[in-house]
């Protein structure tokens, strides 16, 4: 996410940080680079101009000049201004007093509305809501089947409306069904449309008037170009959209749309779609996104994810085992499974700050299949072997390799990795309470970034 922009900012700021004094020349040269980076990232031209003007005025101000490290100050200014442009607070969903609350998803063709409808339903379901899905896309072949299949996969009911093929009828019937069956949220997926398509826009407009949704969410592709802002604005003016969900951020979209939409339309970005799996939906936190763009990482989101998915009891247990040196292959497998629950490795590595040992972490290519192999190898051991690795001799290794469909070399490698991990974790768990902790704190906040 935002990797390209990140790389460029890193380069620009690296040369800036070492500057002892800031004169107009240095600032202008830096801002020229920033401008190119932003434009290449498809940030709207007007937004770029406004941002740079604000940064320039502040950067040449008294406060920065009298600062001890003016370069750092400028990075801080850019950070603050970026957060300003993205809107400060995370914007949450509004629910109505009457059941069911209605969310309407709209957007251009191919922006990812149907998948997002599923993700949103899953997000709500995991927060004790009881959503019902309905598709009013009567135009695209198999669009309604698509939502039905997704609904089944995430185990959320989907209103079929067999024999109905008028969007408004479908939506009204679904709302009645939701109320009857005690669903508290109805998510309406609509057909993709261009904002200049009068007929289709009127159709959603009618949906909005009749159903009075609490949220009209524009689903927008993060890779969209300079036009992003204009379509967002038109959808807002015409349909009164209340927020935006940006999709496909797991690609290398540079976030131009993200940086432009809020500034120009005043619409908050509410969620980010970050992967193919249905749980790959994240709440949008402006400050965290800016940290990511500036290469400061997003440790907060990583911790939250870990808290959500990792069993605390087990984590404490592991910690104790490491200290007493009884961390077995069984625990190794448990650890691996828990970490994998957090999501694809590449995504997690992307959240780390780009400094020190993590510098190229996001570029590391993790083959998820290899992780599956490791699991298979440990699964093929006997419980005894898993508890006491010392008994695993050559003959046993051969059997394990056969059982897991791998080779003896691979088995050896897993054992090596296990020893290494044991060693590393042991030293880490001891150091964590000492100087290790201050090291972890370092990347958070602008002052800590020293590449």
């Amino acid at each position: 996410m935002f990797d390209t922009l990140q790389d460029r900012f890193q380069r620009v700021f690296k040369s800036l940080r070492v500057q002892g004094t800031l004169n107009e020349e240095v600032v202008d040269a830096t801002l020229r680079e920033v401008r190119l980076a932003l434009l290449d990232a498809d940030v709207n031209l007007n937004v770029v101009k406004a941002l740079l003007e604000r940064v320039r005025v502040k950067a040449l101000g008294e406060e920065v000049r009298s600062s001890l490290s003016p370069g750092q100050e400028v990075v801080r200014i850019v950070r603050d201004e970026l957060i300003d442009i993205l809107g400060h607070e995370a914007s949450l969903l509004t629910f109505s007093k009457d059941y069911p609350t209605v969310f309407l998803l709209v957007g251009l063709q191919g922006s990812g509305k149907t998948t997002t409808a599923g993700k949103l339903a899953m997000w709500l379901a995991s927060r004790k809501r009881r959503p019902l899905l309905v598709s009013t896309d009567v135009y695209r072949p198999a669009a309604r089947e698509q939502l039905a299949v997704i609904a089944k996969a995430i185990q959320v009911p989907c209103f079929a409306g067999e024999g109905m093929n008028v969007p408004i009828d479908l939506a009204l019937a679904a709302r009645k069904d939701a109320a009857d069956r005690g669903h508290d949220v109805l998510i309406i997926d609509t057909a993709g449309r261009l904002h200049i398509d009068e007929l289709l826009m009127q159709e959603v407009s009618d949906l909005r008037t009749r159903l009075r949704p609490s949220e009209v969410l524009l689903v927008a592709d993060a890779m969209i170009g300079q036009d992003a802002v204009r379509s967002a604005q038109e959808f807002h003016e015409r349909l009164g959209t209340t927020g935006v969900i940006l999709t496909k951020l797991d690609g290398d979209a540079r976030g131009g749309a993200a940086l432009s939409i809020h500034y120009v339309t005043g619409q908050p970005i509410k969620f980010l779609g970050v992967g193919e799996k249905y749980d790959a939906l994240e709440v949008f936190y402006p400050d965290r996104v800016v940290s990511r763009i500036l290469g400061m990482g997003d440790i907060l989101s990583l911790i939250e994810k870990a808290e959500e998915k990792i069993d605390k009891q087990k984590a404490l247990e592991v910690h104790r085992k490491l200290q007493t040196d009884t961390f077995s292959l069984e625990d190794f497998r448990d650890q691996l499974r828990q970490v994998r629950q957090l999501g694809p490795m590449e995504q997690m590595l992307g959240m780390l700050p780009k400094v020190g040992i993590f510098k190229d972490a996001s570029k590391a290519r993790v083959d998820e299949k290899e992780l599956t192999h490791i699991e298979a190898i440990i699964d093929s051991m006997t419980p005894q072997e898993r508890r006491n690795h010392e008994i695993i001799n050559g003959k046993r290794r051969k059997r394990i390799a056969r059982g897991s469909g791998t080779s003896v070399q691979q088995v050896n490698q897993v054992l090596r990795q296990y020893f290494q991990m044991r060693k590393m974790m042991k030293s880490m768990s001891q150091g964590l309470l000492g100087k290790g902790l201050s090291r972890l704190k370092l990347p958070v906040g602008p002052g800590g970034v020293s590449a």
Partner: protein, 325 residues
């Protein structure tokens, strides 16, 4: 944006290809060409402020920073050599630059392979690839229709086994077009579906196989590797296959289109582009950037939701439809 601006654009019944293209690029034209006109209007010389405004206009049209600088450098050069003195010549100068880039895609660091002919008596294999939601399946339907009209006998291969209801979607199109389709159940190995389709095409004497693939972000290493595997399977069954690999690109995509094109050339050997959603508000400027950087030619443009809304692309016509007054 009144359509009467394009001369014969309002002609009754069936407008010609060129007129339809003109209608489709109407908003691009409004944003690019008419903006240029406004900038030079009433100016005496081509000075820095004119060039600055032009730069902003080109960037806003998604041409990208590099392509924009190249065009501006050419303009500056012409100004300094006194070849460009009148502001009203600017429009033509830009038109020529864009046309030059589009017509000589090889002028950049060209690395896109050229399409190959299939061996005699064997079907041509056409892969259709792209990121999620660009309009691959719809383009395939249009492409099949295009081949049908040429009197060919296309076979569809539903190798998008990943997305929910992708099979159903392409099947409905196959029914509408009354053509054959090879599919397996959702979640199957796409390479296996491909294998089946190629075997079927050979025995049933189809002359072209259009392969639908799952949308994949070009940054997903494993998915791109899967595409490479499909290419290998195809080549094993029919020499030289895939003979064409069409990258479907959404015209509203910004500079990310470049990154997409680069990866799909590298991993799937993309030979050309189908530019979709050119109607409406798309700007399509990224096409110029792609031609310049990768030498990947545009083969078709999609201009609407109907089956015949797919036009063969001709750079000269494209530029003409944009700039013609």
């Amino acid at each position: 944006m009144p359509i009467s601006l394009f001369g014969s654009g309002q002609k009754e019944k069936k407008p010609g290809l060129f007129d339809r293209l003109k209608q489709a690029v109407a908003s691009t034209k409004a944003q690019l060409v008419e903006r240029i006109e406004e900038i030079v209007e009433g100016k005496q010389t081509v000075d820095q402020s004119v060039l600055d405004d032009l730069e902003a206009t080109l960037i806003t049209a998604d041409l990208g920073v590099k392509t924009t600088s190249e065009i501006l450098a050419a303009l500056r050069d012409q100004v300094s050599r006194q070849k460009l003195t009148e502001p009203r010549q600017v429009r033509t100068a830009i038109e020529q630059e864009i046309q030059r880039i589009l017509e000589n895609p090889a002028a950049g660091r060209a690395n896109a392979p050229a399409p190959k002919p299939p061996p005699p008596g064997q079907p041509a294999v056409v892969f259709v690839v792209g990121v999620n939601g660009v309009g691959k399946t719809t383009s395939i339907a249009k492409l099949a229709n295009h081949y049908l009209q040429q009197g060919r006998k296309p076979l569809l291969c539903a190798a998008d086994t990943f997305r929910a209801a992708a099979n159903e979607q392409i099947e409905i199109w196959a029914q509408r077009l009354a053509i054959e389709i090879i599919k397996q159940k959702s979640g199957a190995d796409p390479a296996a579906v491909l294998f089946d389709a190629l075997r079927a095409a050979k025995t049933r004497h189809h002359d072209v196989v259009i392969v639908d693939t799952a949308g994949r972000l070009h940054t997903k290493y494993n998915l791109m590797a899967e595409l490479e595997k499909m290419c290998r399977i195809a080549a094993r069954e029919i020499p030289g296959a895939p003979h064409e690999v069409l990258l479907v690109l959404d015209a509203t995509t910004g500079q990310n289109g470049l990154a997409q094109a680069r990866e799909f050339v590298e991993h799937a050997g993309a030979t050309g582009i189908v530019l979709t959603k050119l109607d409406g508000t798309a700007k399509g400027g990224v096409v110029v950037a792609i031609a310049r950087e990768l030498g990947l030619p545009i083969q078709f443009v999609g201009i609407g939701e109907k089956l015949d809304d797919l036009l063969p692309f001709n750079p000269q016509e494209f530029v003409e439809s944009l700039f013609e007054s």
